[in-house]
């Protein structure tokens, strides 16, 4: 195995162009586990640790440009306001030591359906900044996950950053594991309210071959909120609407039985998380939006 250590981003792109099978490594929290377990034996490792740019983030007017290697700890500490869903997701990543090393770029590169960041990125809305010697492109997050542990990157491309929409409303993230910390997701759910566009977005993890959105559930809820004037009157969402949303989220799953849980449990749990996170985000929206909230009223 050869270990490539580019000193700059340009060198990294050149190396990746020359050795398209090279596996990028930054925090190493995923790649090193795979190597230690002998699950993969890459011909080349492409070490990105010398490229400081990847550890930077910029808060723009509408979005945050998050360097691929920004550790989860930094996200939790610095971007809670702009990226509340991703901050909550970051909290659930492994242990403090892993959170000090691992970043979103690794989650995207591996593209495991169990990656903790994915549901939050899907719900918030994001674009992956992929670059090669051929140029730069922004891949919408909805088009990024192409199969089990597969993504839309070309063999010569590296992930430089993720552009994540700044929260314009409440966001929530829940993850089920069979332990109270340091656990791989049995399934996970992210939800973001977008009052500016009067839409709701979701993300589901570990319950389908790829991270997915529950689009039918989103459409149903968008319509229901619109019809009832909920965005304006801020009324409590009725249990029947919440239940139908939850059922549609469950239906968006295409899970398997594995050593971590059964398919039917995953469907069930995603529904519960969908209902609860909807309640939490909507209550938060009602509580913080000053326009025309009729406190305690039921639509």
């Amino acid at each position: 195995m050869d270990f490539l250590r580019p000193a700059s981003w340009e060198e990294a792109l050149a190396a990746k162009a020359e050795h398209p099978t090279a596996v990028p490594i930054a925090g190493g929290t995923d790649v090193m586990v795979e190597i230690n377990f002998d699950h993969r034996r890459p011909e080349y490792l492409l070490d990105l640790n010398r490229i400081g740019d990847l550890y930077e983030w910029e808060v723009g007017a509408d979005s945050v440009r998050l360097g691929a290697s920004v550790p989860y700890t930094r996200i939790m500490e610095n971007l809670r306001g702009e990226l509340p869903g991703l901050s909550l997701a970051s909290h659930t990543v492994a242990s403090p030591q892993i959170r000090n090393r691992g970043g979103v770029g690794g989650n995207l590169g591996t593209a495991s359906p169990a990656g903790d960041a994915h549901p939050a990125l899907l719900a918030a809305g994001a674009e992956v900044e992929a670059e090669s010697v051929r140029g730069t492109r922004l891949i919408p997050i909805d088009e990024f996950y192409t199969g089990v542990k597969r993504n839309a990157l070309a063999p010569d491309e590296l992930i430089r950053a993720v552009h994540i929409k700044k929260a314009d409303g409440p966001q929530q993230y829940s993850k089920v594991g069979t332990r109270n910390a340091m656990v791989i997701a049995v399934c996970a759910f992210g939800l973001a309210l977008h009052p500016a566009t009067r839409t709701v977005r979701t993300g589901i993890g570990s319950a389908a071959p790829t991270p997915v959105r529950a689009k039918a559930a989103e459409e149903f809820l968008n319509a229901a909120l619109d019809e009832g004037g909920f965005w304006d009157n801020g009324r409590i969402i009725t249990p029947s609407v919440a239940k139908q949303f939850a059922d549609l989220c469950s239906a968006a799953c295409n899970p398997i039985d594995d050593v971590r849980g059964t398919a039917s449990y995953r469907r069930h749990a995603v529904g519960i998380m969908a209902r609860r996170t909807l309640t939490w985000t909507w209550e938060s929206y009602r509580g913080t939006d000053g326009r025309s909230i009729e406190k305690g009223s039921v639509a």
């Binding site: 909290h91 829940s174 109270n180 910390a181 049995v186 849980g261």
Partner: protein
């Protein structure tokens, strides 16, 4: 069976005072504590030797198969490889090993019987080279049907896991795929059943738990000029290893010199050999030191696990709540090799009734041979599985009778003088009802603690923790109780002894002591306690604990809650013998100067010889002068006897130990997630030699019991008998966020048969913790929950 005139269970003749600092009863600090916490402690995996090679084991990829061929040519060609060995390269006719039954091949021959069985070994100059070379060995398997449960094991046409068995259990087992069977029969169950007003039945399943010690199997074998080998190894019992290793190597035992290296936990998983013989074989073959370290994946295949079990229980009670009878059948899955299965059967059967008075008992326990991973010793073995079942039964029966669950247990609780189902009279304190009273009396943790901090829910106090699955929705609290009984020490007539060498001399103008035993310090704190005992018995301050090795006699195993009792007893005994000699020297040298030398009870305290009235007769320095007093002696507890093979009657256990738990849980009933809020424990320890260590043991055992209640399980595919989760990614053990507050109430009721009245403590808390948590979850959910661990699917019906 008294042996060689050594004292048996000697009660203390002289009570040494407590004036010497750092003696028994004090919470002296462990010498290894700071090093371990700061990461500086040298574990067996940290060893290094100049010019050493790395060993690697090739393991079977299937659970049951004939080996058609093994081709090592490519592996041997690999640059950097020094040796590749298979069964054909074993040097002597002894090719198997085993704790009790020598049924485990050093390397597979003709057949593999479980997933991960060692087939070949490689030595190379780099661990990666060894790994690559092992992968080049071509093994052709012809797969056989797998035997995975009682039905497939005892079917008329079942393949025999071991052909031609000639061990001492084959004569009394109903099928050659049963390792051992032990019935325990007392009274008349049929007649008692007629008198019962209430009968409850249950079928319970106990999952396969792993010891999950943090330091993987590892050691270093160094070939010696005399043709022997020095082995530095993390184990639980040096001399048991030695007895199994030497014959395979074709060496006399004195040419296999073993030294204990840093042990990172054991919990029973190091009672069996792992890489010991393999490292020695490679070292002797290559003439170079060979180190072997398993990684975590291999570790899951490299040691035995806790026996999974099916338990069928029927209890009866009268209207006023008195137990009438118990009929039970306990089926333990021993996997492919016997390991400690016979002893596990002995414990499960003889302790299967729990700490209760039941006059009519019919228990049968068996251990199977299957193609599942081999199972053997783990903290509380046999008794742990039984406790899960009988405590579930007690709750069910109390409910039927209409009594409070704790009161029902207390009404039927055994006490000193109770006759066990084996006919053995419990002849030391058995405060079962009192332990239950104490855990029940502890204050309850406040309700809804997640709201205590302020407006937003503190998710760390809720099921799911920081995974943020609930802010209180669906959360229901439950409370459960359980109590258990465990034996201490090796049972059923085993000659369970230990050896201690104690030396006293003057160094730097001060009388000091040295203690040398072969006791494996696996984290239990034996080295701390031995120094305390020496200070108490010899009145010195400075005590050196020599490294454990085979240059001194056997200390027996660090298991069965026995080391403080037995090796502690041996150290105490040797100290007493040294003390007698020192007093003799004193009488000889100085006896004429004071009449008290001849008349008074003399003690060693604070570096001096004093009368029991406190008068100083001499300084130890003046008595010893240039001489050293050294004694190595064996010490054994009172003998036990085997259980009758048909009735299970017999004085089988040397001591019993008891703990009770109260579990308080919060269950997210919609998601099926559990947060254990508190696990209160009350335990009788006889005498706490080191109170801080006692609390640590109880909290650790409690947490290990919690693990098997809610998360820990090795999952074996029933179709292939292959392990599905051999990693800490998917074999989950409790983190600190899963570990509840564990208030501990320690009782000290002396057992007059034991040194200082102490009671072995390491295992008892592991028993009752699990059923208490299960009872609490049942209390919260109303579900029956007849298996452990409980998974979210079981709580949500998905």
């Amino acid at each position: 069976m008294p042996v060689k005139g050594t004292p048996i269970g000697t009660p203390t003749k002289v009570t040494q005072g407590s004036k010497t600092k750092g003696g028994i009863g004090e919470s002296t600090l462990r010498p290894d504590g700071t090093l371990k916490v700061t990461g500086e402690f040298a574990y067996s995996s940290d060893m290094w030797h100049e010019d050493m090679l790395w060993g690697q084991i090739l393991r079977s990829t299937v659970a049951h198969a004939e080996i058609v061929s093994i081709d090592t040519v490519e592996a041997l060609k690999t640059p950097g490889v020094y040796a590749v060995m298979t069964y054909d390269d074993l040097p002597t006719d002894v090719k198997n090993y085993g704790l009790e039954i020598q049924d485990t091949p050093v390397l597979a021959h003709g057949k593999v019987r479980h997933h991960g069985e060692p087939v070949a070994i490689v030595a190379a100059d780099h661990p990666e080279t060894a790994r690559r070379a092992a992968a080049k060995i071509k093994v052709e398997y012809r797969e056989l049907p797998v035997i995975t449960d009682e039905l497939s094991a005892t079917a008329p046409d079942a393949i025999l896991i071991h052909e031609g068995r000639d061990d001492h259990h084959i004569g009394h087992v109903p099928h050659p795929n049963i390792v051992h069977r032990q019935p325990i029969i007392r009274g008349d169950v049929a007649a008692a059943r007629e008198r019962a007003d209430f009968i409850v039945e249950g079928e319970y399943t106990f999952g396969m738990q792993d010891q999950a010690f943090l330091g993987p199997e590892s050691g270093l074998a160094v070939p010696a000029e005399d043709g022997g080998v020095d082995l530095y190894i993390a184990t639980q019992w040096l001399h048991s290893d030695l007895r199994q290793i030497a014959p395979v190597l074709g060496l006399p035992e004195d040419k296999v010199r073993m030294t204990l290296s840093g042990v990172g936990g054991a919990f029973g998983g190091r009672e069996d050999l792992s890489m010991q013989i393999h490292a020695c074989l490679l070292a002797l073959r290559t003439g170079k030191p060979v180190k072997i370290v398993y990684n975590r994946f291999e570790s899951f295949f490299g040691h035995v696990h806790r026996h999974p079990a099916k338990l069928y229980y029927e209890h009866g009670a009268t209207k006023d709540g008195k137990l009438t009878h118990l009929k039970a059948r306990i089926v333990l899955d021993g996997g492919a090799y016997a390991s400690a299965s016979p002893a596990v059967v002995g414990n499960a059967s003889s302790l299967g009734a729990g700490p209760y008075v039941i006059d009519n008992v019919d228990i049968e326990a068996i251990a199977l041979y299957t193609n599942n991973p081999p199972c053997g010793a783990m903290r509380g073995f046999g008794a742990v599985q039984a406790c899960f079942a009988y405590e579930a039964q007690m709750d069910k029966l109390a409910d039927k009778v209409g009594m409070d669950r704790v009161a029902f247990r207390q009404l039927n609780a055994m006490e000193q003088g109770t006759v066990m189902p084996t006919g053995q009279v419990v002849d030391s304190p058995a405060p079962v009802a009192e332990l239950l009273r104490r855990v029940k009396a502890m204050p309850m943790p406040p309700e809804q603690q997640w709201l205590a901090a302020g407006e937003a829910a503190d998710v760390r106090q809720l099921p799911g923790g920081l995974s943020n699955t609930t802010h209180g929705e669906g959360v229901v609290r439950g409370v459960g109780y359980a109590v258990g009984i465990k034996n201490v020490g090796f049972s059923e007539g085993f000659d369970d002894y230990s050896t201690a060498k104690v030396r006293m001399e003057v160094v730097g103008g001060e009388a000091v002591a040295t203690v040398h035993t072969a006791m494996a310090e696996v984290g239990q704190g034996g080295v701390t306690v031995h120094a305390q005992i020496a200070r108490t018995e010899l009145g010195v301050t400075q005590v050196t604990i020599n490294p454990a090795d085979t240059q001194v006699g056997s200390a027996g195993s660090t298991s069965a809650s026995r080391q403080t009792y037995v090796t502690g007893g041996a150290v105490k005994n040797s100290c007493e013998l040294v003390r007698e000699k020192v007093l003799e020297m004193g009488r000889r040298k100085l006896g004429t100067y004071h009449p008290a030398w001849a008349t008074a009870e003399l003690l060693l305290e604070g570096g001096k010889i004093v009368t029991d009235a406190g008068e100083v007769l001499a300084d130890l320095v003046d008595v010893l002068e240039g001489e050293a007093v050294e004694i190595e002696a064996e010490w054994r507890h009172r003998p036990t006897e085997a259980f009758d093979l048909r009735t299970g009657q017999g004085f089988g256990h040397v001591q019993y130990t008891f703990a009770a738990h109260r579990a308080v849980v919060e269950v997210d009933t919609e998601l099926g997630l559990v947060k254990v809020i508190e696990l209160a424990c009350a335990q009788d320890v006889g005498k706490a030699l080191n109170p801080l260590s006692v609390i640590g043991q109880i909290q650790g055992g409690t947490t290990q019991g919690l693990g098997i209640a809610v998360m820990e399980e090795i999952i074996v595919d029933p179709k292939t008998a292959k392990v599905r989760n051999p990693s800490f990614t998917d074999y989950l053990i409790p983190t600190i966020l899963d570990t509840p507050t564990i208030p501990v109430d320690v009782l000290e009721l002396a057992d007059e048969h034991a040194p200082y009245g102490l009671r072995g403590i390491g295992e008892a808390p592991t028993l009752s913790s699990t059923p208490a948590v299960l009872a609490a979850i049942r209390n919260a959910t109303g579900l029956e929950l007849n298996r452990t661990p409980v998974r979210p699917e079981h709580l949500t019906g998905t």
